[in-house]
C-alpha cells in the first residue's frame, strides 16, 4: 500500500475516504433511485418477481444491460443473444479503468477487483472529476457503495410499489429522471470552463477540453440518432480524446513558435 498519510495509516485514510465518497454519491443516488424504480416497474411487467429484479440489480448492476435483458427476456431471446447484447452494451466500460488508473496509484489486485465492480457510467463521470489524489481508493469505494445501495433500493421500491407510486405522483418519475442529465451538466461545465484539474494548463487546455467535449457530444448524438447505442459512447470517447489531443498539440506548437 502506498504511502502513509499525515492523519493516520492506510486503513484510516481508506475509512475517511469511504465516508467522503459515500457523501459524494448523493447526486448519483437521486438519479439512481428514480431509474431504479423505473427498472423495478419494468422488471415486474416483464414477469420477474421482486426478488429476481433485486438479484438482477445486485449481480448485473448495469442499467443499460438490465433494461436490454428485460426486453430480450420478454421477447423470448436465446441466452447467447442476451449475453452478447449485454456484453456489447458494456464495452464502453473499457475506457474507464485506463482513464482513472493514473489517479488510483498502487492498488493491489484484490482491491482493484473490488473497486472495478462499481465502475459504471455515473461513478466514472463523478470520479473523473472529483477523485482525490490522496485516499482515492477509499473515496471511490464509498462513491460506488452509495450508488450501488441507491440502485438496489430504487429497484426494490419499483418492483414492490412502483406502479402505485407512479400513479400517485405521475410527474415525479420523469422529473427525477432528469437528475442524471443534470449530474452530467454539473460535472462537465466546471471541467470545461476551468480547464480541468486533470488536463492542466489554462486557456489552451480549457479550449482543448471544450473541443473534446463538443466533438464527443456530436459523435454521440449522431450515433444515438442512427441507433448505435452503447457504441456511441466508445466512439465519442475516442473521437473527443483525439480531437482534444490534436488541438492541444496544434495550439502548443503555435504557442511555442510565438514564444
Amino acid at each position: 500500500m502506498a504511502g502513509q498519510g499525515s492523519n493516520g495509516g492506510p486503513q484510516a485514510r481508506i475509512a475517511s475516504g469511504l465516508l467522503g465518497g459515500f457523501g459524494a454519491a448523493v447526486p448519483i443516488a437521486v438519479g439512481y433511485l428514480s431509474a431504479g424504480v423505473a427498472f423495478g416497474v419494468a422488471a415486474r411487467q416483464a414477469g420477474l418477481v421482486p426478488a429476481e429484479a433485486l438479484l438482477m440489480s445486485l449481480v448485473v448492476y448495469s442499467g443499460a444491460s438490465q433494461f436490454a435483458l428485460l426486453g430480450l427476456l420478454a421477447a423470448g431471446a436465446s441466452w447467447i443473444a442476451m449475453l452478447i447484447v449485454s456484453l456489447t452494451l458494456s464495452l464502453r466500460h473499457l475506457l474507464y479503468g485506463p482513464s482513472l488508473a493514473p489517479r488510483l496509484g498502487d492498488t493491489g489486485t484484490l482491491r482493484t477487483a473490488g473497486v472495478a465492480f462499481g465502475l459504471n457510467d455515473e461513478v466514472f463521470a463523478v470520479s473523473s472529476v472529483k477523485l482525490p489524489r490522496e485516499g482515492g481508493l477509499g473515496w471511490l469505494l464509498g462513491l460506488e457503495l452509495g450508488a450501488y445501495v441507491s440502485w438496489a433500493l430504487g429497484t426494490i421500491v419499483g418492483a414492490v410499489a412502483g406502479t402505485a407510486l407512479i400513479e400517485e405522483l405521475p410527474s415525479l418519475a420523469p422529473a427525477l429522471s432528469f437528475a442524471l442529465p443534470a449530474l452530467f451538466v454539473a460535472l462537465l461545465v466546471p471541467l470545461v470552463s476551468s480547464g480541468g484539474e486533470t488536463a492542466g494548463r489554462g486557456a489552451t487546455r480549457s479550449t482543448s477540453l471544450g473541443a473534446a467535449a463538443v466533438a464527443a457530444g456530436v459523435v454521440a448524438a449522431v450515433c444515438g440518432l442512427i441507433g448505435l447505442g452503447s457504441w456511441g459512447v466508445i466512439a465519442a470517447g475516442v473521437a473527443g480524446s483525439v480531437c482534444g489531443l490534436l488541438l492541444e498539440r496544434f495550439r502548443g506548437c503555435g504557442d511555442a513558435s510565438e514564444g
Binding site: P27, A51, E52, L55, V60, Y61, S65, M82, L87, S90, H93, L94, L95, G97, P98, S99, A101, P102, L104, T107, T109, T112, L119, F124, A125, V126, S128, S171, P174, A175, P181, A182, L183, F184, V185, A186, L187, L188, V189, L191, G196, A199, L209, A212, A213, V214, A216, G217, V219, A220, A221, G224, G227, G232, V233, G237, G240, C243, G244, E248
Partner: protein
C-alpha cells in the same frame, strides 16, 4: 415467490461479462503503470487519456437526453430544453453537484407543469 434458478444463472453470466469489461482494463492499466511509472501522464496514450473523462461525460449527457430513434415527442424535448437552462446556469454560477442536480430536477418538474 422463489427466485428461478435459470434466471439466476443468466444474471450471473451477464454480470460476469459486465464485470470483466470493468475489471480487466483497470487491472491492465494499473499493472502497466506499476511497470512503467512514466506512462502515468507522459506519452501519447497518457495525454489522450486525460481527454477521455470530459469526452465520455459529454457523450453520456447527450445519450441521456436524446430520445430513442422513433420515440421522440415534442413535449418531452421541450421539457428537457426548458430544464436545461436553469441547470446550466446553476452549474456555471455555483459549480456544485448536489445543487445543480436539485435545480435540474425542480426545473424539469416545473417544466412538466407548463408543457
Amino acid at each position: 415467490m422463489p427466485v428461478r434458478a435459470d434466471l439466476s444463472a443468466l444474471f450471473l453470466l451477464a454480470g460476469a461479462g459486465v464485470y470483466l469489461t470493468r475489471f480487466l482494463p483497470l487491472l491492465v492499466a494499473l499493472r502497466r503503470q506499476a511497470k512503467e511509472p512514466a506512462a502515468k501522464s507522459d506519452g501519447l496514450l497518457g495525454s489522450a487519456l486525460r481527454f477521455v473523462g470530459p469526452s465520455v461525460i459529454a457523450a453520456l449527457l447527450v445519450a441521456s437526453v436524446l430520445p430513442q430513434p422513433g420515440q421522440a415527442e415534442l413535449p418531452g424535448l421541450l421539457r428537457t430544453a426548458i430544464a436545461f437552462v436553469p441547470t446550466v446556469l446553476v452549474a456555471v454560477r455555483f459549480g456544485n453537484l448536489g445543487l445543480t442536480v436539485l435545480a435540474g430536477v425542480l426545473a424539469y418538474w416545473f417544466a412538466s407543469l407548463l408543457v
